[in-house]
């Protein structure tokens, strides 16, 4: 499903964010990528949805070779990977419904499909009763649920969550991770990029640990063991 082969990323003048990273993610896996600040995990996430290009190596997601992807192909790739961000990245002048619908609208989905899918997805994330509220009228956890709903509307095979609990309290964080686990349970591959020790340890799923741009451990039922 996802293959990183000897991937490196250099930032000018001489910062090595990633240094020869290689790993493979099978379909339906839940993988946590952990590391301290500056370890390179967010760079890895950016490479995965083509916000940046690797300096060396290759990245394959399904049939896509992301390391060689053309600029014009990026929107199509992004519609196949649901991305959840730490700062939610919602459109402030659109309601929860409109934010989720937007991801389908840009793909040219018919209105009937949007009317069918968006309420379903908002119900899954527990926002059926708040779908017409604007982001400013929602709590942080609710905004993150909207972000997850938006990531889900395409029924993507992969969900990439980059520090999705970074701005949330412990209880809300657990709720969000539970939601991601439920999404994984129905067969969606989930990549969770985080530095939240409690969440990683509670899940007992595969953990890839990155330090100084290199993978220092890749454990099937791993734990967060950085200082």
């Amino acid at each position: 499903m996802i293959t990183f082969k000897n991937v490196s990323k250099l930032y000018k003048p001489d910062t090595k964010a990633l240094d020869g990273i290689s790993f493979h993610v099978r379909p339906g896996e839940f993988v946590s990528i952990v590391g301290t600040s500056g370890s390179g995990k967010t760079t890895l996430a950016k490479l995965l949805f083509a916000e940046e290009k690797p300096t060396g190596g290759s990245i394959h997601v399904g049939d896509w070779d992301i390391s060689r992807i053309r600029r014009s192909e990026v929107p199509a790739l992004r519609r196949q990977i649901g991305v959840v961000f730490q700062d939610y990245k919602l459109l402030p002048k659109k309601t929860a419904y409109e934010n989720a619908a937007f991801a389908l609208e840009v793909a040219g989905a018919p209105a009937s499909r949007i009317r069918e899918v968006v309420p379903q997805v908002l119900k899954i994330v527990g926002l059926a009763d708040k779908m017409h509220r604007y982001p400013r009228q929602l709590s942080g956890g609710e905004q993150q649920r909207v972000s997850i709903a938006r990531a889900l509307v395409h029924r993507p095979k992969i969900i990439l969550a980059d520090e999705p609990t970074g701005n949330l309290d412990a209880i809300t964080s657990r709720e969000i991770v539970e939601l991601l686990k439920r999404i994984n349970d129905v067969g969606t591959t989930v990549i969770l990029v985080t530095h939240d020790r409690d969440i990683v340890n509670a899940m007992r799923k595969r953990v890839i640990t990155i330090q100084n741009g290199k993978i220092v451990s890749d454990a099937e039922h791993g734990k967060y063991h950085l200082g």
Partner: protein
């Protein structure tokens, strides 16, 4: 088609949900159009005034005393047939003498000569109006070069008017050139103001543009609503300017008419007759400018 309708929907949503930004942008565009329309009004007023003065310039051609009515009629017909001539009026000899005397009131030698001759040595005269004062030279040359009529012409007072006509032509050219320069200057200022306003509007939306890109919107889908917004703002500003111009002209027309008494100036009629051209051109120019600026301002935010 579905996508186009969505772009229109997003653009309209953005216009109304960012009301103050839309209000400020439209206001700036409106002020730009106000400047343009003030220049148009000034140009129309200057043109009308100059034309009215030009219309008042007439040249008199005096016949020798005793010239037959038949010849006078023939000259009258000859001049009237020239395309450069607007009108020719026959002035009887008595009136011609009075005019001649008043023109030379401060020339005692001429008046003394008249007294010495006694009676009325001047025949009837023709008062010529030209379509353009610059044409008088041609009209009078045509008369001089006609062997049929030249012997009957005693005098023409063109030389007296020549300096005035030349000064008027020069002034009118300068006014037009000045108007053009002023219009160019204000157009440049307007372009800069519109350019910066749209840039600020796009800057306000920069995070939104990034989010659109991150959820997989292609470039044209991100650009579309902003380009349509630019057209909506331009349309709103042009429509408001049209309504504003109508109301202002309705209110000011009587004052303008009385201020420019004697000058044939009808701004409302001018605007009404050229409505489609004036506001159509303004809308198209403003839309093009706003859209180009939008595309330019969005470039760096579309890179993610």
């Amino acid at each position: 088609m579905r996508s186009l309708l969505r772009l229109v929907k997003f653009a309209l949503q953005s216009v109304f949900r960012n009301f103050w930004l839309s209000f400020v942008t439209t206001s700036v565009l409106l002020l730009t159009l106000l400047t343009v329309n003030m220049l148009i009004v000034l140009n129309v007023l200057a043109d009308s005034t100059i034309k009215s003065i030009q219309d008042k310039v007439q040249v008199e051609v005096y016949f020798n005393a005793g010239t037959s009515e038949e010849i006078e009629k023939s000259v009258h017909g000859y001049l009237q047939a020239l395309p450069q001539v607007k009108d020719v009026a026959v002035i009887p000899a008595t009136q011609s003498l009075e005019t001649f005397k008043s023109l030379h009131a401060d020339d005692p030698e001429v008046l003394a000569a008249l007294d010495e001759v006694g009676g009325n040595p001047i025949g009837d005269s023709l008062l010529i109006s030209a379509n353009n004062p610059d044409d008088f030279e041609f009209i009078l040359a045509a008369l001089d070069s006609s062997p049929e009529y030249a012997p009957y012409i005693k005098e023409k007072n063109y030389a007296d008017h020549k300096a005035v006509i030349e000064r008027l032509s020069g002034f009118s050219d300068k006014v037009r050139l000045g108007g053009l320069g002023l219009a160019g200057f204000f157009a440049l200022i307007s372009v800069l103001i519109v350019f910066n306003t749209i840039r600020v509007a796009i800057y306000v939306h920069r995070d939104e543009i990034a989010v659109m890109k991150l959820v997989g919107a292609p470039d044209w889908f991100v650009r579309g609503p902003f380009l349509l917004e630019a057209i909506f703002y331009s349309a709103a500003a042009t429509a408001l300017m049209g309504v504003g111009a109508t109301l202002i002209l309705k209110f000011l027309e009587p004052q303008i008419q009385s201020f420019f008494a004697g000058v044939d100036v009808n701004l409302a009629a001018y605007y009404w007759e050229n409505l489609a051209i004036i506001f159509g051109a303004q809308f198209l120019a403003l839309s093009a400018l706003s859209m180009i600026t939008t595309l330019f301002a969005m470039r760096k935010y579309l890179k993610t």
